[in-house]
């Protein structure tokens, strides 16, 4: 009973952290989208130098643990004299990491399109830029939504690790209360449920987006 009361009393504080969590994840996902798409385009259509550079970026951010990156960028921010704001550092690290993963989702989607799509666009006199914008990306982004939903759920859970910098998200706040009340089981069960809930809502919204952007009559694979 006592633990339930503790959780109940701490709930507004912890749920308040979900706003920070959601903000972090949205910013990081947005960053990943904005930078990941051009990276994917560069990796597929770019010159060998561009392809190599993108490969290097992806190799680095997929290879280094987020925990290490958080401390690394914390140090980097200090070294460069940038404002050492935990929330900002968290967003940058998660955003850059997600960029790497998302670029590979988009690359796979672009490469799964039939070659004829680009050929037909070129044959009509479209520049490669126009063809990529009007023909390739609208199709590739649709195909990316399931992979993107996966990336969202992974990123959401990865965001918990940002508590090490003192970002005031769900995990940090739960940990803060737990350290004072010693009700670890109940508090972290509540935190876990909260993450599940956010994942569920996010995946539901993405599923709706997938249905909404579905091309009539078009099926890939086993539909």
């Amino acid at each position: 009973m006592d633990s339930l009361i503790t959780v109940w009393n701490a709930l507004p504080f912890i749920v308040g952290g979900s706003l920070v969590t959601i903000a972090t994840v949205c910013i990081a996902l947005g960053m990943g989208l904005v930078f990941g798409v051009p990276l994917a385009v560069g990796q597929v259509y770019g010159s060998p130098v561009v392809q190599r550079l993108v490969g290097l970026y992806v190799w680095f951010f997929r290879g280094v643990p987020i925990l290490v990156l958080l401390f690394l960028f914390f140090g980097l921010f200090v070294g460069l004299g940038l404002p050492v704001e935990p929330f900002l550092v968290s967003c940058v690290v998660l955003g850059l990491t997600s960029t790497a993963y998302q670029s590979q989702i988009f690359r796979g989607a672009i490469q799964s399109l039939p070659q004829g799509q680009l050929k037909a666009a070129r044959a009509l006199g479209m520049s490669d830029g126009a063809a990529i914008r009007s023909i390739i990306l609208p199709q590739a982004l649709r195909l990316s939504i399931p992979g993107w939903a996966n990336e969202f759920s992974i990123l959401l859970k990865d965001s918990a690790i940002c508590y090490v910098l003192g970002t005031q998200e769900i995990m940090a706040r739960t940990n803060f209360v737990a350290a004072r009340t010693h009700e670890h089981l109940a508090l972290f069960a509540a935190a876990g449920l909260l993450y599940c809930l956010i994942t569920m809502v996010g995946l539901y919204l993405l599923r709706r987006l997938e249905n909404k952007t579905h091309i009539p009559g078009y099926s890939t694979g086993m539909n």
Binding site: G116, K119, A120, A123, L124, M126, S134, I215, S219
Partner: protein, 256 residues
Amino acid sequence: MMQNTENVLRIHEISKNLGGKAILKSCSLDVARGELKVLIGPSGAGKSTLLQCINCLIQPDSGEIWLNGQQLRRHDKKELCAFRTQVGMIFQDFNLFDHLTAEANVAVALRKVKGMNRHDALQRAREELGRVGLARRAALYPAQLSGGQKQRVAIARALAMDPTVILLDEPTSALDPELVGEVLAVIRDLARGGMTMVMATHQMDFARALATEILFMEQGVIIERGTPDALLAAGAGTRTQAFFTRLQDMGDESAS
């Protein structure tokens, strides 16, 4: 520079190697306004490669391409895009844009290449779809159309750009037999209307009836060329005729 305004399209000694193998060896072709040139030959002969070299979807290794008396500088991207708007292309497997409706498929290049506004582009698209008998299918997506309808949308898409020449790369080869006729009918109408075309096909009866000239290709070389009458006359002894006879025999076999 020599000017030859008689020929709309002039292909001069195009060669292409891929992986150390010569796919095209010095192929030349002059097309006058209103002509229908038909490329015939076994698969792997280089017909498709030749057509795709003409609008540089595959960059030739050497050779010249002239349109309306002007030589294409094929590595100049802007010039190449402008050239391609004048040279329509129909593909074997249609290559419609899967995420766009039939009318948007036709309209997209009008908007993105010719800079037309949405309303005008869609109106033009509907006109072109009407021309190929698909006015009532304008709002459907490619996945909702039959193969023959898809290919007619592709033809409408090419026509909307007001091309000087249209290249057709085996436009009926991917179609079920009962759908071939509707596509050939559209191409026949274009030929009769004076459209200049270069077409690779296995439809020998069509070629015989409508081609101004047949070019027989084998192993990357145009080995015979002439009017259908000359090449297909009884006892002409040409490779074209032998090929024609073989195709007919195969057709009879599959029909029986």
